[in-house]
Symmetry: C2
Subunit: 427 residues, 2 copies
């Protein structure tokens, strides 16, 4: 077994950057309580997790005004009924999702109907209030790093069907019940890679995969590896950037044209202490305008250093991606200050990562399914082509796009390959 890794590091969309003496998660960061696979993997390689939620009140910044509220309480939007209306829509989505088979949403009785419309269309038909719509958008941006127009209704129902409820998804993302990794999420793949040792080759982007009768050849620059089976783990959007001989069947190539990556710039500011906690604030905030509409506390477990994290998402990521890094930093810190006070303006360190600029991801959090794609191309996400098998977070049947999904997909692809090699029973 050999891992050819395009980057000069392992971890893909989990990566740590040390700034201000703290290992900051520039990509995947938190795991939820029902994400057992990633938790077990972390335990197996000796990476500890810690509860990520900080006590205190959250902040909503809306119309230039700031309000605090207790976590778990209704978000005090300007229009009192708006939060309830949005929550009602979340519940309706969760109800619809009960009709969707987990892992095979294209088999739902109403699959074509739901895949023919954008989530935006469903929202406009289901929510009347402007502010409830804003809150719905915020939830979608937070969960998918894209706008409701970029997703089919079926795509969202599929995620809910495979993981629980929409409220649950959003709550995990936005507030409680989460865990971070001591040392950062990248520690997990780093430790796995240590165990694999020389079987991991870094800086080795695969350019071409040639299938023959007796084997398959994987080319990266001057390196050619001959083997029996290949697992391709890049997101579907990047599959087509590898050359295949024979070429991928047309529909498989077209799938690669149809699952665009979301857009996110993740921004961290490091402070010498989590100063907001002195005001009984948790560090969580929601905002009605960019750059970062979602803010969270990423302070390490010891609580000595403070870290605020802003997510610039979807359209905001495109708009703010065109500004200079300096302008972006200032706008993010200004927003942090709106929510948590002027101390936010003077961090010890600041770090950001625009995932659309990352050569081997070209977006984040993950690949999303616009209208029509799941029904027409969904089954091809995991279907092997000869000796080529597919893994990666987008191919998971639950927690698609999450670290948990990535681990699930890796385990599933490994089983496929081992079965194909006649090594059934090997674990």
């Amino acid at each position: 077994m050999l891992v050819l890794e395009a980057r000069k590091r392992v971890g893909g969309r989990t990566v740590s950057e040390v700034a201000g003496g703290v290992a900051l998660d520039m990509g995947g960061q938190w795991i939820g309580p029902s994400q057992h696979r990633i938790k077990e993997l972390a335990e197996a390689v000796g990476v500890k997790i810690f509860p990520a939620q900080a006590p205190g009140r959250a902040v909503i910044w809306e119309g230039g005004r700031r309000k605090e509220y207790e976590q778990g309480e209704p978000v005090p939007l300007e229009t009192p009924e708006a939060f309830g209306e949005a929550e009602g829509a979340f519940r309706n989505l969760s109800e619809l999702a009960k009709q969707v088979p987990a892992g095979a949403p294209w088999k739902a009785e109403r699959a074509w109907e739901w895949d023919g419309q954008t989530l935006e269309t469903w929202k406009l038909g289901s929510i009347r209030g402007e502010e409830a719509r804003f809150y719905f958008d915020l939830a979608v941006e937070s969960l998918y790093a894209c706008e409701p127009r970029d997703l089919s209704l079926l795509a969202v129902l599929a995620d809910i069907a495979a993981t629980g409820t929409f409220e649950g998804l959003f709550e995990i993302e936005a507030s409680a019940e989460e865990y971070g990794f001591v040392g950062g999420a990248q520690e997990v793949p780093v430790r796995v890679a240590e165990e694999l040792g020389e079987r991991v080759v870094l800086g080795c982007p695969v350019r071409r995969i040639i299938q023959g009768e007796d084997g398959v050849w994987v080319e990266s620059g001057q390196t050619v590896v001959e083997t029996k089976k290949v697992i391709v783990t890049v997101p579907p959007a990047l599959r087509g950037r590898i050359e295949y001989e024979p070429a991928l069947p047309g529909a498989y190539d077209q799938l690669s044209q149809r699952m665009p990556m979301g857009a996110v710039i993740k921004c961290h500011a490091v402070y010498d202490e989590p100063f907001w906690r002195k005001s009984s604030l948790s560090g969580d905030a929601l905002c009605d305008t960019g750059p970062c509409k979602v803010i969270a506390d990423s302070s390490p477990q010891d609580g000595r250093t403070g870290v605020l994290t802003g997510f610039i998402l979807g359209r905001d990521a495109r708009v703010w991606g065109c500004h200079s890094a300096r302008e972006r930093r200032q706008a993010v810190l200004d927003r942090f200050a709106h929510c948590f006070g002027k101390e936010a303006l003077e961090p010890e360190a600041y770090a950001e990562l625009d995932w659309a600029e990352e050569a081997w991801s070209r977006g984040g959090y993950d690949g999303n399914a616009p209208a029509g794609v799941l029904c027409d191309y969904g089954p091809m996400l995991r279907e092997p082509i000869g000796r080529i098998h597919w893994a990666g977070a987008e191919t998971a049947t639950s927690w698609t796009g999450y670290m948990e999904g990535a681990v699930e997909s890796g385990q599933r692809a490994a089983r496929e390959v081992l079965t194909g090699l006649g090594a059934i029973g090997v674990t």
Copy 2:
């Protein structure tokens, strides 16, 4: 000036294949009366055009039943009012399109609203009858080689705004007012290439484009060309398969992830004569089921040989693309026979091309814009990145995706480059 062509031939999505002694257009074939640029280019290189419409009645095959009707008359769908209802929807689209600025649809006042929904959603809200919906779908498949769910409403309004009316688009496609090229549409690029001589290098797929301060280097295998400006003409979906140094800005890469190619298998059967004309049939047919829902007469001008052409479109192309070539041929010929009689079962020759299987196109007719894409990424279709300019049918401001659009885009990109090189005034 140098043209690096990936294929071992010129013409891209126009290509002729000789079968049964006839040059068959396997890709782009007809031009409409208002497509002046391609017409002028054809004249300039000495390629003649001829009226493509054949006299006679058209056929509709619906519910296993066959009806004939005069071209230009209402299509006799089973439900008498269905055709009128669909035509009403076409007119409504054309009315809406008046609010869309040609070439810059993202500037329409209601752009976000229209780009947030699929054409499918608009159809369901605008057409009540099942059969009128079927006819609407047929028009969309015929025009875009995809389903209404694969397009945003704005994308279709943009095309109408830039070309005339939806009825006009569909009528041109489906019946009258068209011209074919004597010898096939590929004759035009072939003659242009002859004029360029050694400045066209075939079999030279560009893998990497490196921009420096003083110039740009274009790599294809061992060949490296140094120049001042580059025009990339591949469809947006394939732009990301070229490597760029420095990398494309994130949003430009993401555009490449968001304009998937349609799906079409074009099938020709060649007969020793256009036998259907003896029955006063034009060779045009519409069908309510696959493989080919749209059939046309592609007989050459002399009228001695007969050619029937079936279009397998959108979902049908994916489904029938998975059958064997033999099964597909039989199903297409059976359908021709349903429409035009048993003589259709015994062609002199048969040829087909599945554009999703074509290495340097990976779909056809062209790249389509799903919901959200035009508003968020449309302006990047044509915006140069340093020394890199963009052309190709998808970048046209009118007749996007057509040969006419390809010529327009080439002329526009050439002007950009000449202006940038200080050669303004050169034509």
